[in-house]
Homo-oligomer: 426 residues x 2
Amino acid sequence: MSAEFTSLVTSLAQRARAASLVLATVPTAAKNAALARLADLIDASHAALLAANASDLASPEAAALSAASRDRLTLTTARLNHLAVSVREVIALPDPVGDLLEETTRPNGLHIRKVRVPIGVIGIIYEARPNVTIDCAILCLKSGNASILRGGKECFHTNTALAALITAALTTAGLPADAVQLIPTTDRAALNALLKLDSLIHCIIPRGGESLIRFVAENSTIPVIKHFQGVCFVYVDAAADLAMAEAITVNAKASRPSACNAAEQLLVHVGVAEKFLPTVARALIAKNVQLRCDPASLAILAASDLSTLVAPATASDYTTEFLDTIIAVRVVDSLDTAIATINRDSSNHSDAIVTADEPAARRFLASVDSATVYWNASTRFTDGFEFGYGAEIGISTDRLHARGPMGLRELCTYKFLIEGTGQVRP
Amino acid sequence: MSAEFTSLVTSLAQRARAASLVLATVPTAAKNAALARLADLIDASHAALLAANASDLASPEAAALSAASRDRLTLTTARLNHLAVSVREVIALPDPVGDLLEETTRPNGLHIRKVRVPIGVIGIIYEARPNVTIDCAILCLKSGNASILRGGKECFHTNTALAALITAALTTAGLPADAVQLIPTTDRAALNALLKLDSLIHCIIPRGGESLIRFVAENSTIPVIKHFQGVCFVYVDAAADLAMAEAITVNAKASRPSACNAAEQLLVHVGVAEKFLPTVARALIAKNVQLRCDPASLAILAASDLSTLVAPATASDYTTEFLDTIIAVRVVDSLDTAIATINRDSSNHSDAIVTADEPAARRFLASVDSATVYWNASTRFTDGFEFGYGAEIGISTDRLHARGPMGLRELCTYKFLIEGTGQVRP
């Protein structure tokens, strides 16, 4: 049984590898033609896609999903329209392949160019979200990579229907059909076998909850780029503009609590805590946010009319990604304590300082060891679109290869092209 | 016992992490002062280092080494002088930390800077080579990374003596002594425990033979940058200048057969095979190189006076990294066959075409999916020094993060520093 899955995914990966070698050098126009065809096919296939999605939604697997997960699985006409729009937006993005990154001529006359090229074959492991199927397929295709998609079992019929459209689009554009492949089973044995194919697959990107990502990282012999949790901090400094601090805190926490760039942790300098905490607490509570407070912040809020609306924090609250309308609150005695606390407890994703003190801000920016560090702005801006990438395949919480939002360029590696006139090494 | 090693390496890694946060923002001058002190200490400690090395060489473990490995383990006065020189050379290299990589101002006024920063904590796993201890420690230090070193057991006393000098140099320069740490045991249980510390260590670089690298890649939950084998090709095209082709082939194969950038495979276009093969075979045999030939090349050479000096190849010869004075030889019918053969059988390290036909060369450069692709030059130039990096920690055979020679910049990641005026996300 296991051998059968190994054989299945090996054959699939071999075909992906062959397709990747073709895709690496095809002109941008051919990739864009396939994308344009795909958008048209999505527009023309609403009935079939909604029917496939309905059969997924009616399955026992889907019945076991949370309301939020079920919502993410659900396709509607509006969401299909949005999917076609996102495909057309990727057509408009510049092709990253072939960009000249560096160029030098050595004293011996060797001319060295470092150019951007696709990574090769990318495996995407994700949950029951049909939009991820399209998003990842189109970004890999535009960046010249072959992709192998493995979505959640609750979404299998929808993914199969979407993959059929992708295959048709590739074929129409004269590109290899194997350039985007959906694993035709959701058996975990197939995933396990896939994660060992390090001679054929060059990169695995898991997208989903912590347990999925951990499973992939622990079982893969292929390099993994993780898109992990965001335990993001807002630090309100002694010299903060408190109205700005309140607006940033409320936005970072409450504008979309389920996002990885939402703040989960609030640190307040002791010098402004008495003044700031009751105000920000009131604003957060108005957005239905629960505050879990350390003894110092609790003591300040206990003296206000908010005392019954806030709760003491437990130790684990200080490192938790709530993904919910909850925020942990601590009072800190200095900028240094704030920096040390963040470097110890954050997930190094996105952390912000609010202050009018430029030297303090500069020290925070330099010393906080996170992918994205903000001065006087909300952590919610950590996002490929907000960065101007036009699209993102995710937000890397790793430090190697890509850190923070990953767009088309981050789906590429480079190679060196070296031209000589017969040089040999002495 | 295993728990004891876990505790040992966890404590060591925690101290490395704390040191890395300090090191990330220290001025270049402090790092250079530590390097200068280290070079002086090496100069002043020949007797102690040679004694430690002698005790390693006298151990039963060293007795089991091959002559080549024993030679790499051996320190001499000349080699110690060279080691101090290499430390002083790294002082002269530019500090990569803080380089501004990209800068943009978004329509909402957010100012985004992407700056180069150290990776953090890097684990180096290597064999019985004392020069690797110094090379890796100084490159990690100069690039602002804390390093954890785990060398081969045959080199333990030498490494301990070198690590003591590094600690002294760090302390003298006012840098954290924990910035460079040698694991104080060569028990494999400690290595196994280290490879699971993915919350404290950000990157593992294994340097050594295939079995070491495979062990690390299979057992690490920390991202690994592999420095794997080089099965490098020289392809002599129909339009090659045959004198140039001969010089490049002989240099690529015979100038240093044990190097990963040495050629192991020769492909010759059928149109020039009859003319080229006897000449290049004679030149290679003069350098004591054995030729392992496919039927077509064997038939050509069998007709010459070299018939007794060449042998038929086996299938495995075509994908073997010989690291020796052996080369496999095949005749190919076209450029396309050469490209497909290389993309199938090479290790994607360094591959060369020799031709006077520019369109053929351009197609080869674009289509060969290797880290370094040469036109009319020897594969032996794949090297950090030859690329002008000034030093290298190795040659990555991975595609993520770094590909090809890795210098100081490739020991860095980046982070985004974002400055606003109170922006919140709509």
